[in-house]
């Protein structure tokens, strides 16, 4: 029996690492439902084990965001918030953003960043750090 073909070198699991005071959670390109389901548990467990101010969810590799995936992300962000942390979603590809919007899914009030670097800078900072200067 052949196992289904997978792109080489791409882990199909979620990785969780601590960067500075932040938990960096990286999703694989096309996680199946059990993998998505594990996102919540892995994230909350890691939040509990490490002292962190927040979480960056790295979607750089992700190729599609369907309703189940989006719902899980939004719920996870909500739980992280209940634990006193903040979630920032990083690196969503244009095709993914377009498609998810057309599908009609939302990520709740979760903040987003263009890439992981910017997201790491954003964690712990207020939504509107500087008052806008009037013209």
């Amino acid at each position: 029996m052949h196992s289904p073909k997978r792109p080489e070198g791409i882990a199909e699991t979620i990785t969780v690492t601590k960067v500075r005071e932040v938990l960096l959670v990286t999703m694989p390109s096309d996680p199946d439902d059990p993998t998505i389901c594990a996102l919540q548990e892995k994230t909350l467990e890691a939040m509990d084990q490490h002292t962190v101010t927040g979480l960056v969810l790295d979607l750089t590799r992700v190729e599609i965001l369907d309703s189940y995936f989006a719902r899980t992300v939004a719920e996870t962000a909500q739980m992280v918030e209940l634990m006193g942390g903040e979630t920032i979603i990083a690196g969503m590809r244009p095709a993914v953003a377009i498609t998810a919007t057309e599908l009609g899914v939302s990520l709740g009030r979760t903040r987003t960043a263009l890439n992981v670097d910017r997201a790491l800078d954003m964690v712990g900072r207020a939504r509107h750090p500087k008052p806008r200067r009037r013209a």
């Binding site: 439902d33 190729e63 599609i64 095709a95 993914v96 377009i98 057309e102 599908l103 009609g104």
Partner: protein
């Protein structure tokens, strides 16, 4: 063309949804769909494949390359012998769910694809056909 013109993938366990998704992605790319169009098709397939698994306990996804009036496209057909849908119009309504979801799958899939047809009757099962044409 190296690609075969049609095929089918069984959807029984949760992981089969991901297998179907990956197959659709490869087929769409092979047929010349761009990144965003492919993401649309794959996302629709994910929603419809999950419905087959969730509501009917399993079924099959058939795919077919289309060629009509000089236009190329892809047709996906999700077939199951589950409980069926009593009121298709209601099922198509945004937010209507009997499974504790968001009621986003069917209306979302319709928006993402060019054409969608649902054939269903209580007790006989459900067939959802979607098509996408290359621009």
């Amino acid at each position: 063309m190296t690609l075969q013109e049609c095929g089918e993938i069984e959807i029984n366990v949760e992981h089969d949804i991901a297998i179907a998704r990956r197959a659709v992605r490869d087929i769409a790319a092979e047929l010349g769909f761009g990144v965003t169009e492919t993401a649309r098709i794959v996302t629709a397939a994910s929603e419809l494949g999950r419905n087959v698994h969730k509501y009917a306990g399993g079924g099959v996804m058939r795919w077919r390359a289309l060629n009509k009036n000089e236009r190329n496209g892809l047709e996906l057909s999700f077939e199951d012998h589950g409980p069926g849908i009593a009121d298709v119009d209601e099922a198509m309504r945004e937010g209507h769910t009997t499974g504790g979801g968001l009621g986003m799958g069917l209306p979302g899939a319709k928006r993402l694809m060019d054409e969608m047809e649902i054939n269903s009757a209580p007790g006989t099962g459900t067939t959802v056909i979607v098509r996408k044409w290359r621009r």
